[in-house]
Symmetry: C3
Subunit: 371 residues, 3 copies
């Protein structure tokens, strides 16, 4: 059996971890049946890989999610395309090629990727002998606690949850069911993690917030005790090396179904809503609020106390000083409506030339005016 | 016993780790006595939580650190306020409410937070059987070395110091007394850490500085050996995932009482003074100097060799190319005096409109002038 | 024996880990012989440290890589300098001082640093009893697997490779020969790492790329399975806490001899060439391409799909939205040719003043024109 991936790492993966649901090559007709889509064209077209509509090979499946993709179809080499319902595809040759009409081409592609995904081997349930578990901790018997893990006093680990390797769970911390914590994850004392979460390696949850009274002539910086906690909902995904600080009082919270990319930093007392997407390397300062369904690009800086409204979007690299209204898209430093940012940065690219020319024209006008 | 925190994580914390010094509710009179403050008003006002002067509940203690807070007092619902000495509080009703006058309201609040802080259980002194300690390492008998830790040859760990879990100490590295290293901290060879420090989980101290001769046609990039070290003073706090690189020669140094937030990167040969505060995600390039008592915001970039003077401040998101003079506040990219940055960014927000209007007005003037 | 470093950490390093090849002080003549350079001047000048040409002490060796350094020589206190072939050094006093002419002063300095580098003690070959190795993993007998490490099923570790402490290797992952993985490094399933690599502590390789279909009214964000892998070439150096995500399909790849600094984030499907240098805290968005021999500064943001050409340079703090052409140097936000950025940021520093003055001059001209 071959898989759709071509990586060298897979060359000798003839066993265990790459058992996939799909056998390749697969015919367009069989794929249409599996996806419960409508076949338009030749059911025999053989498919063995995924490809771009512009340069994919003849044996590739591609996808058409909008008319801007559809216009490439007539000249594409790909044998078959997934097409979102309602999109016109001009120049189709049904005798030699195939279209599969589905409600949403992107979602159908996800279903295919899931089918060919080399399934990860879940560690067996139980506690590895090298793990150190406090006698007062409650570990569900179906949970898997890997080598070198530690679970502190009065903490609990829910059903089917997996702690991969060298994971640290502090004191009185509660992790829900069906959650996976990758190697090196640290969750400090008194935190709560929901069900069906996935945290990338070396994430750190529950470090003290960065709260100090500034130093004076008489004493050094005085630490403000951070006696709050961190509460993370269900179905949350965190990338590697994400840090989420505990609150000064109350809790730093992340809502259900929110997905956070690698190396994001969430400071104390942030309140992040449900269903948000936060891309890599973004910084949330203290007490930042992010509304439900917000989408935040990479390397963004949200200043202390900044508020991002529901369904708002923030472009990568933006610095939000105060707020982004509900539903709006902001960009730039300082962040402003994206259209305005586009125009201003466009002008900025020519600023020096503009300054020189204006100076020259003003001088000429002033000279004329004086004469 | 209840605590002032309301987090779900605390609901079943009826034991061990939340034993606090304060019993709640507490009367304003008792609190005044504990803080050695002057009570003005009703000593019987019961307090069970902390709150904001603008929207805290009747049972809340709030604080008044300046007259801008004081003006809210008359209409606040909070039963009691800590007031910094010398601040006038208009509209106080001493029959039903209470003020507690203290030298510094912020410091008094810290004292209260410390009193209600659920005390962390310190691991017992001694070396966990799973820790791997080189026979030539010197571990003070009062130190606590947690599971999965490693201490290399000729290294030393001072009195009462705690290595939580999976901490790595390299060869010939010296950690002082009363220091706490959270899980996953790595301190490489030949580094020095002072007393009473606290390093967040997964910090890495002593990685080689990033020094290479650029690649040429004849050879790849040539590594410049980084034979220096890292020297960290006393009372230093580092957040999670902070990285501090060793020097090429000599030492990368951080002064006493400096506090550094999560995911800060300090490159080789930086010299950071005493009593500085550096917020999350800030980058210190190679050979950067930061003076004593400087305050640096989040996501700041200090270019290689940049110099930040004593008592200087750098606003979040700034990019410092060369230097910030002693005592000054800089902001923006490139960093400039904050007032200038504010004006320039203000103009930038309207740049495109300005360019268009100037163009139009110049054209009209030129047409008039020609005619 | 003393070493050239002056750090406190070295005070009691009279054994093992600091055995160096060079004995100090060393005479200029002996050093010239060791470096196979040409001595010009007094062979007896004693050298015991390295120093800057501007303020190094009399016993210091300094270096002259260009005429801009050479002009300081006459007034420098340093006893000896390494000089790159072909550079004129005015005002040399050969009776009391020494110059050593070498093909490349920088490379000669590297050779000296290597000679005085306290050699790290390599752990003995073999597998520490606390390491957890899957029976199907292949560990070369010359490899050293430290305490608390884990190697998953069907993975392999090459000859002389060292896993320091608490390193995690997933399932079906292949690490080459002579590679060093510092403590806490995590390499997830199905990744490939080449020979002679060095990865800093707490790096994470092979986290899932951040791929989701955005949430809709009917469902939460839908995870796009990341079924690809990560392939890292030979002679790659990664700093601490670097994260490199696996590809959606195919592989995220880094070319031979590329060096990446601390806390860099490389998102899924990036293709980074050979011989590139990427400084600390830089972010590579999804599907970014970086050409061979490119040099990228610190805290740079490369937007999703951005392309940096071969031999191109990107200044620290830049935000690249689309591309940097081959061989060019870009800077600023958004990134533009460095010379243009310099001029535009120069104008930006005075923008507010410029706006005010233009307004005033236009008003005067308009008033004159009307009258």
């Amino acid at each position: 059996m071959t898989t759709m991936t071509t990586s060298k790492a897979d060359e000798n993966t003839d066993s265990g971890d790459t058992a996939s649901l799909l056998s390749l090559p697969i015919s367009a007709g069989t794929l249409a049946e599996l996806l419960e889509g409508e076949l338009v064209g030749n059911a025999e077209v053989p498919l063995s890989t995924l490809g771009s509509i512009e340069d994919g090979p003849v044996e590739a499946l591609t996808f058409i999610r909008s008319s801007s993709f559809a216009k490439f179809w007539a000249n594409s080499s790909c044998g078959c395309a997934l097409v979102s319902e309602g999109i016109e595809v001009p120049g189709h040759d049904p005798e030699n090629r195939a279209l599969i009409i589905v409600p949403d081409a992107d979602e159908a592609l996800v279903a295919i990727l899931e089918a060919i995904n080399p399934n990860r081997v879940r560690p067996a349930s139980g506690i590895h002998p090298s793990a150190v578990i406090d006698p007062t901790a409650k570990i569900d018997p179906s949970a898997a606690i890997g080598p070198g893990c530690m679970v502190g006093a009065r903490s609990s680990i829910g059903a089917n949850t997996v702690l991969m390797h060298n994971v640290t769970i502090g004191v009185n911390t509660h992790v829900g069911a069906d959650t996976i914590l990758e190697p090196g994850v640290v969750i400090e004392d008194r935190c709560v993690v929901g069900d069906r979460c996935h945290f990338g390696a070396n994430c750190v949850i529950g470090t003290d917030g960065f709260g100090f009274l500034p130093p004076t002539d008489k004493r050094g910086a005085m630490k403000v005790p951070q006696i709050g906690t961190v509460e993370l909902g269900n179905d949350i995904e965190l990338g590697a090396c994400v840090t989420i600080d505990r609150a000064k009082l109350g809790a730093t919270t992340i809502g259900d179904r929110t997905k956070i990319d690698n190396q994001v930093h969430v400071a104390h007392n942030c309140v992040v809503g449900t269903d948000t997407l936060i891309c890599g390397r973004t910084t949330l300062g203290g007490s930042v609020t992010v509304g439900d369904f917000a989408m935040i690009g990479g390397a963004v800086v949200l200043n202390d106390q900044a508020v991002v409204g529901k369904h708002a979007k923030v472009a990568g690299g933006a610095v939000v000083l105060e707020s982004v209204p509900e539903g709006e898209t902001y960009a730039g430093m300082p962040a402003m409506p994206a259209r305005q940012a586009l125009l201003n940065y466009g002008s900025f690219r020519e600023l020096s030339t503009f300054v020189r020319k204006v100076e020259k024209r003003l001088k000429k006008l002033e000279a004329d005016s004086d004469s």
